[in-house]
Symmetry: C3
């Protein structure tokens, strides 16, 4: 089942049910971007606009489709229906993820009442608190802090230096990259005579199956109940998710984006980089917000928005176009006034 490089172009074609065109003995040792592909490299070619690039290459093995096959005898082709996906499978053999030791490192500290499945990895200098449970196949890499009563499912990767605070719950096949903090206090205060006083944040965070959270993010726990990130949602780096947010399934949140408290994203919402959403905003299914956009009001689904405040992108582009014409508007207005003898007061 496992792919092992080097392998010949012929073996690759057989493995992925592709058609071989060219020298089947050519060996694949590495993967490469199309423009840098040379001897020993596998690359993929899936868009016609790169045909010139392909014509200039030699010695490489190329994954492409029947339709895109190019006459270049210096190349070997493996014709498949989805070149990029097959390329991804081969590329994955070069994955950098630390494999873990499938044991608790002697330099880790796991509290007595934690339940760690036998094949779990807990890396050096990692801490696992009382009452926490870690499912089979999961890798806790070095320097992680897992508080008390944390639930982690199966086949997760918790990269070095992640904090999962007490009571948070993580599904299966979740990847959390370095520096991310899950389950820190939400940001809520009551004014008192003695200054601001924190509202106790005693809820939790629930991260569903197949979620991916990038590096240095912060996902705050709910005041009551749970901040929730739905199945399959992918979050980039340096993203903030406030307390009680409810993020649907298969959403995409790009780097630097921030969600205040109790934001609701329905399924398949896409937020560009550095987007900001105010408290209690609801964004409808399939909506997209362009980078640096922001809103404090609800947005309907299946539309693309941009700007602060975010409006449908057609509208905001039109506004930007007209804003450039303001000097012109000003001049023309003054001309009309002067012609009509108006005082421009």
């Amino acid at each position: 089942m496992d792919l092992q490089l080097p392998m010949t172009a012929a073996a690759l074609a057989q493995r992925f049910n592709g058609r071989l065109v060219g020298d089947g003995h050519r060996e694949v040792c590495a993967v490469s971007a199309l423009e840098h592909a040379g001897a020993g490299d596998l690359a993929f070619y899936q868009q016609k606009r790169f045909s010139e690039t392909v014509r200039d290459l030699k010695d490489a093995v190329l994954l492409t489709t029947e339709e895109l096959l190019v006459a270049n005898e210096a190349l070997t082709f493996v014709l498949v229906s989805n070149p990029q996906r097959i390329f991804g499978e081969v590329a994955a053999t070069f994955n950098w993820y630390p494999r873990g030791d499938q044991r608790v490192d002697p330099l880790a500290k796991v509290e007595a009442s934690a339940q760690v499945s036998p094949d779990v990895s807990v890396g050096a200098f990692s801490y696992v608190g009382n009452g926490s449970r870690i499912g089979k196949g999961t890798r806790i890499l070095p320097h992680c802090y897992i508080g008390d009563d944390v639930q982690i499912g199966e086949d997760c990767i918790v990269f070095p230096r992640v904090v999962l605070n007490a009571r948070v719950s993580i599904g299966n096949r979740v990847h959390i990259f370095s520096g991310t903090v899950v389950g820190s206090d939400g940001f809520g205060f009551l004014p008192t005579e003695a200054g601001l006083r924190a509202v106790p944040q005693i809820g939790t965070v629930e991260i569903c199956d197949d979620v991916r959270i990038g590096a240095n993010c912060t996902i705050d726990r709910a005041t009551l109940g749970a901040t929730r990130i739905g199945p399959g949602t992918k979050i980039d780096n340096l993203v903030h998710v406030g307390h009680n947010c409810q993020i649907g399934s298969h959403c995409i949140l790009c780097a630097g984006t921030g969600l205040a408290g109790s934001v609701i994203l329905e399924d398949e919402v896409i937020l560009g980089g550095q987007v900001g959403l105010g408290d209690h905003v609801r964004v409808g299914r399939g909506a997209q917000i362009g980078s640096q956009g922001g809103t404090t009001t609800n947005l309907k689904g299946n539309q693309t928005y941009w700007g602060t405040p975010a409006v449908p992108v057609k509208e905001s582009l039109s506004t930007f176009r007209f804003m450039k014409k303001l000097p012109d508007i000003w001049r023309r207005l003054a001309r009309l006034e002067s012609r009509l003898g108006e005082e421009p007061t």
Copy 2:
């Protein structure tokens, strides 16, 4: 003094000098948001608009005021003057904060000349440098790095994986959440023939009593003197405070906000999320800046601002309204021109 759940509604009423209405034997085991409250739960009801919700509930114990008492025999009420505050006190018994062991963990490293009060907790894999002093009742949780000559007051909580670099000073009852870095270098360079050369950042950071700093923030040390965060100020996640900033007391900085160097916030300033303030900007007492706002010029106190550049919110809302009318303005201007036989050049 300490609250211990479960307790009966009657005991709760007595404890907080409230009036009991309904079944005093009913037990409170947990706290809940109003809409989910059921058997064993305590919830609070403080706003009339939720009266419908209250009518539909049963089995729960509700904290509310005399004025808001609702006829619902399926509920037990405890009538107090400030339901939310009392609720907070009960909720706090479910606090997730790691308690610490009131000792130095055998897996921590504390340098010989550090002075750690007897009841201080220093968690596993935490480091405390030479000459540092930690006041009584303070918890340094696992994975923290406390550099040399750091001062930390009493009853602080330094959550897992905080960095407090050399010489910074932390007051009493300060909470610093995971991933935050205090006392890293300010960002200042001099151009030289050999490229940019760092200006030595040899000042420090002074964090006053009752400050709260969220997760993954960066508070840079001053070039000379001290970056200062005044008493009672609350900072959310992923906030950047540049070198030499002077933040007053009881300010609120929401997530993703960034202050360049030498910014001055007077007392009680509130900054929304993703706000950006340029070098040397001064913001007057009680001013508020809406999310994603930005300015490079000073702002007077006791006003609300929005936009980039930030202007009084009334003004910016008016501008936004007129921006939407730009297509209309354009059309009407052209019509006038055409009527007057003007060429729209």
Copy 3:
């Protein structure tokens, strides 16, 4: 060669080839901002507008130029051609950087096949993976995670709690501040029937000589090839650099800025705080983008830009000026219409 305080003003003048004016026996024990300078302090005075401040000082030693010499007998002056740079050299003796022990701390874990030069420091609770190489004079401070096959040059400082993931490459004299994560996965997905599937990110990160990266940044590895940060570039805190970005030499990126994937910054580009650049954007040599600016299109070099979308700053300032006049435009347009008997439809 090393500077040792305290030293007399006379010794200081001799050391830096300066001219002494005043009492050469006066001792310098510390450095100070000009306005706070007193007995025992060294300060510098390089801009005429602070002459009033200088007139009021006493007891301090001042670095200034021949041209700026002020008549103040209570001060001692050392006249040099570049006061700020000399001041910086003296200030650097107060540097807070942890010195390291020039050895592997017994509480660190260095894998067997890592190659660590004899004088390298590896701090407590730091981890160094298999096949990694660390050049002489480099300090790996506590709590760092260095993955497998990482290359680190000479005389680097890797501050506490940095993550350098597998295979990344760091040049000489590089400073990386706490909390920064280098070589995490780029953010790229393919839609499949089973939801979004991560594109393998198997490239690396190359950080060149004399680069400085602030705290809590994220520098993602390339999909293929390398994300690259050119020599001498300086990066502030909380900056995100996406996969495959190519950053030139001597660039400056201020706090909170985010670069999506495959962004190209030519040399000497300056980005203000919270700037956002979209996928594949190219910014020309010497271009500057003001804080909170953003663009998804290429920008030519040697110009200053501002706004979202970013335009030449002159243009954006003009637009902002006219935006403030919109209410006025509206009113005047309506007046013309009414005078001409137009219906304002």
